[in-house]
Symmetry: C2
Subunit: 202 residues, 2 copies
Amino acid sequence: MRQCESKLKLLRTAHELISQQSYGSVGVDQICEQSGVKKGSFYHFFRSKSELTVAAYEYHWASLQETLDRIFSAEKAPLDRLGDYFNHVRQTQTDRSQRYGRLLGCPFVSLGCELSTQDESIRLMAQKISEGKRTYLENTIREAIERGDISAADPRALADELHTYIVGLVQEAKIANDIRVLDRLKSGAYRLLGLHIAPAAV
Amino acid sequence: MRQCESKLKLLRTAHELISQQSYGSVGVDQICEQSGVKKGSFYHFFRSKSELTVAAYEYHWASLQETLDRIFSAEKAPLDRLGDYFNHVRQTQTDRSQRYGRLLGCPFVSLGCELSTQDESIRLMAQKISEGKRTYLENTIREAIERGDISAADPRALADELHTYIVGLVQEAKIANDIRVLDRLKSGAYRLLGLHIAPAAV
DNA sequence: AAAGTACTTAACCGATCGGTCAAGATCAAG
DNA sequence: CTTGATCTTGACCGATCGGTTAAGTACTTT
């Protein structure tokens, strides 16, 4: 196995295993075995399990951002971006639910929830990514307000509320292990946005 | 140490340690030591760490229900109950935040988030308690609608949305480790309920 | 008082935990 | 061809993991 291929494999495997199970229940040995990388190599690249985890989740966040940049493309109408995002959230959970047989929820929220009180660097990462997601919503909502698609005074406050709602709903879906919980995503979101009739192409 | 005092001590200690840290990072030895109970006694009362955890959290839920029964007392006006509940959520997080130096979030959601994909009995408990909390909201909102305090068609749907919002907000507060996130509790909740001016006694 | 049950105690188990180490392999630059 | 840096390998570490066992103590019931 050459150069930094081992490092990438570790990043991908760590994110997959931990988001599928939990930080506490996944061991370094397990990550190494599934990566086909020996433990010594692990500790050549990363100083600790915690450091690998942060790197793995930031790696995943970087690729997720590419997807979000497409979904929130400035070329689309703001309400279309939001609709596409709601679809994306549901689709992601559906896909992983089928692959792993369990509804996994949001990996960043799950990790943050488990370790925020114990590992400050993981808490900061989860916080940063949460803020990043929220910003996509805020920019879109601001533009929607400017265009007159949404009538609201404070785009920031509205984005906060919407993001909070989505986080809560995905969390509930995980605990219920039921994708149907996400049926409430669009109805609740559009009500929050003051759009009592859902946009056309839903 | 006499009779079932050991068992109660284990239940209380387990809930405290696990909600303060996480399931994965708290060991049976640690629970035993802090309880002043020997490991053999532990496994006399409980068959596994998982079983103790379920019992501990249901024990805590039982006492929380007494508090909620008071907050959601039928003698109060529905909107007062909701206001008191919002205060209670914030106050609980503030108290624990001061005691432990960390904002801990909702113990049931945190545990459910960590273990829903791995331990079905813990998932079911978290789901049941989430449903229990939601029901308090639903009954109150239904009564508020009947009285004309809130205008909405579907009390169930509205309670779902409110509960989801609260779960999401407490989660975000935990990840931000900042009690000020809960400043958005009332504003967001009242907007969700269609009450654009917050009730008097806030 | 005897017997049976509930509970406590301390020693013990194999497995796994996160992490270390030193020797070797590979590779690019001089 | 040599050097030095990067990466790999497998053996190894003490600590802790969840859980077991068997003997002993305390309390209840009859």
